[in-house]
């Protein structure tokens, strides 16, 4: 049977197993929406209230399932509004396919109504993008898009579809390819066995090792293998912001997050280590601090599926290009086959030293009777949810506190914007997570600044009855900006004070949700419990917190990992 482009689009999504698509309609995608409507039930379309929200929701869906997230937006402003979400997905390696409508082919390049060159605009922030120029290429292009997005180092792929390809004037037989081959794209999965042997030897010879693991562990599904490796060797493990949950945070071998707001013990262990084993992490500047002072005595092993990540910022001694899960499986097998153990005496000394650093108790906080402390709210939420919630975060101080105080024991539970640092990410991401996990406890930890950047999505939550718990740490400031201004700009708080805040309780109620303002520390637990227990409603918990609280510890810009500000 011959199908229109719009029908081919929908059938291709079905063939890919897409069950949820996030989007916002407009002129150039009307034919696609006409067909999507007919596919309801098989493919649920979720109507966001802004294209940025749609794309972040697709990210949330993808980040909590490791499936490819899908979004659809119209041409012109629909496409440009999606760009922030696309860039966000690019920096955090989120598997995602974004469909944009385009003006009819005959009008491309004419400055037509709602025309932008979205291929050109997104070129630097996508894994790849395609303009479909012929209906014959539509199905195979969609196949390629999903394949590229979900394999290798995942990332966003954009498919731009001109309106006249979808209009049904031209129909062709639908034949969705089973396989796709792209001659220039063959990600290496298996690590080089020689390199794995070298790594095994280095692991066994090390006296002060540390496993420094990132988002790649979560993305590859290699958390179990990482735990096996760490336990086998009894090595300490630190996670990057993106890697949280890749190793159980309540495990005694976990020394906390590293980097700018990481723990003292994690950063000191990195600094003093003789062997840094980077696994699916990329030596980001927030992790390394001053690169000149980074891990001065360490040999470095780096496992990553992206060869370009290796030796980009830091010279690596033993590179292993491959899928983290596969490489860790092989590495564990190699170590087991050798049956050797690292120097136990040295390792004991190393652990003694780490435990000494731990005594600084760098994450301690005090909750008095007067003002709510942000850390306390997160800590309580972690306790009340047994560490099992899906926690989405916006960007700023609350994000760092969430990362420090919510102890993730499982991967795919911590959903945040790490690379791009996109304020406004949290709420729409939480929608995607809640839709992927309808019965799960899902929180959006946010602040009075971030939440206002995609606040319109409260309407989407109403429409689809998403019982997200918004935990807003309202300090009346753009807290992270204020903190930097306090430290480095002599307390000149330029534009970081959020005046004219709305009444968030009334705002939540206006959208049909439950809003509660909490001022008294004694009420924190009760409010959290109420929100957690109610599985039907969205709660907007507006916690009025200490306005001038800072995130500690901190590595100031230009400093080394051993030069932390503790309190």
């Amino acid at each position: 049977m011959e199908l229109s482009g719009a029908k081919i689009f929908v059938e291709s999504l079905k063939a890919e197993g897409v069950d949820t698509i996030f989007g916002y309609p407009g002129g150039a995608v009307l034919f696609l929406y006409d067909e999507l409507d007919k596919a309801a039930g098989e493919i649920d379309h979720i109507l966001a209230r802004h294209e940025q929200g749609a794309v972040h929701a697709a990210e949330g869906y993808a980040k909590s399932t490791n499936k490819v997230g899908v979004a659809i937006v119209t041409s012109g402003p629909g496409a440009t509004n999606a760009v922030t979400g696309i860039a966000d997905a690019f920096l955090d390696s989120v598997p995602m396919v974004v469909f944009t409508g385009q003006v009819p082919r005959a009008l491309i390049g004419n400055d037509a109504f709602q025309e932008v060159d979205i291929i050109g605009i997104t070129r630097p922030c996508v894994k790849h993008n395609f303009l479909v120029k012929d209906i014959k290429d539509l199905a195979s292009t969609i196949k390629k898009a999903f394949y590229i997005a979900g394999t290798g180092r995942p990332g966003p792929v954009l498919v731009d579809i001109p309106k006249d390809i979808t209009d049904g004037k031209e129909k062709i037989a639908f034949d969705y390819p089973d396989k796709v081959e792209i001659r220039s794209y063959n990600p290496s999965i298996k690590g080089n066995p020689k390199q794995i042997k070298l790594a095994a030897t280095a692991l066994l010879e090390s006296k002060t090792p540390i496993l420094y693991t990132g988002g790649g562990v979560v993305l590859s599904g290699g958390a179990g293998q990482l735990t096996e490796l760490a336990r086998l060797l009894n090595f300490p493990v630190t996670n990057t912001l993106m890697g949280l949950g890749g190793y159980p945070a309540t495990d005694p071998q976990f020394v906390g997050m590293l980097g700018m707001h990481g723990t003292y013990e994690a950063n000191m262990a990195m600094h003093k280590s003789d062997l840094v084993v980077a696994i699916g992490s990329r030596f980001d500047d927030r992790v390394t601090g001053n690169i000149e002072k980074f891990c001065p005595n360490a040999k470095i092993i780096h496992v990553d599926i992206d060869p370009a990540s290796i030796s980009k910022n830091v010279k690596v001694d033993i590179p292993i290009v491959g899928d983290v899960k596969q490489v860790l499986t092989d590495l564990v097998a190699e170590l087991k086959a050798r049956g050797e153990k690292p120097n136990q005496e040295a390792l004991k000394e190393w652990w003694d030293q780490i435990n000494e650093w731990r005594k600084t108790d760098c994450l301690r906080y005090e909750q008095g009777d007067d003002v709510i402390t942000a850390q306390y709210v997160i800590d309580k939420y972690w306790q009340l949810t047994n560490g099992e919630a899906y926690v989405c975060s916006d960007v700023g101080q609350h994000q760092m506190w969430a990362a420090q105080y919510y102890k993730f024991d499982e991967p795919l539970r911590w959903i945040n914007s790490g690379g791009l640092g996109t304020m406004g990410f949290g709420l729409p991401a939480a929608m995607g997570v809640q839709l992927a996990h309808p019965d799960a406890e899902v929180a959006c930890i946010t602040g009075d600044g971030s939440i206002q950047m995609c606040i319109q999505e409260l309407a989407t939550c109403t429409q689809y009855q998403l019982p997200i718990n918004i935990i807003s740490l309202n300090n009346g400031y753009l807290g992270m900006v204020r903190q930097w201004q306090e430290f480095f700009y002599q307390k000149r708080y330029s534009m970081s004070y959020m005046e004219s805040l709305p009444d968030f309780v009334k705002l939540a109620e206006a959208y049909g949700h439950v809003g509660i303002q909490i001022k008294d520390p004694a009420d924190v637990e009760g409010a959290l419990k109420q929100a957690i227990d109610d599985k039907e409603r969205l709660y907007f918990l507006d916690f009025l917190t200490n306005p001038e609280e800072n995130v500690y510890p901190m590595i100031p810009a230009g400093a080394g990992q051993n030069e932390m500000i503790l309190v």
Binding site: I119, G120, R123, P124, K127, H128, L131, I148, I182, R183, S184, Y185, D306, P307, A308, I310, S311, K312, K315
Partner: protein, 156 residues
């Protein structure tokens, strides 16, 4: 790289986005019309060059990348240069210099010469220098193209 629209801009965009310098660039289809071959000249430390190679390899449209400077290689560039003699007497000088550089006069008018010359970039620079006493009206250079010597070949 794939002989497709947009492939060139992905490469050029990568260089500008990551702050790498392009000294010259030349691209055209090959005997296999699904492929274009690009020769790009850039400079950087060993680490930068390694990163450029990796980043280029990451582009889906790039099929294969080779650093020619890892091999013995031949490079060529073509130049078309249009000159006007300062005096009538220097017309024969122009012809003589062109001969020394194995340049060919490919067009003439009552006042101007157009000369075609090819070779390494330095040779073309030297030719321009040698013509500096004349009036140089136009210089068009193709950008460098290169190929490895001997049995080494860049094949897909």
């Amino acid at each position: 790289m794939e002989n497709e629209f947009g492939a060139l801009s992905r490469v050029v965009g990568l260089f500008s986005a990551r702050g790498y310098n392009i000294e010259s660039l030349s691209v055209a289809p090959t005997d296999d019309d699904s492929l274009s071959r690009m020769t790009l000249v850039t400079r950087g430390s060993e680490q930068v060059i390694e990163q450029i190679l990796k980043q280029l390899n990451k582009l889906i449209d790039v099929v294969k990348v080779t650093d020619l400077s890892d091999f013995k290689y031949i490079e060529r560039e073509m130049m078309l240069i249009k000159l006007e003699a300062k005096q009538v007497e220097s017309m024969s000088t122009i012809k003589q210099i062109a001969d020394v550089f194995r340049g060919k006069v490919i067009d003439l008018s009552n006042k101007t010469f157009t000369i075609e010359i090819s070779g390494k970039g330095e040779k073309l620079d030297a030719f321009i220098e040698a013509m500096s006493d004349q009036i140089i009206l136009e210089v068009v250079r193709s950008g460098c193209i290169g190929i490895a010597r001997g049995n080494v070949s860049l094949k897909v």
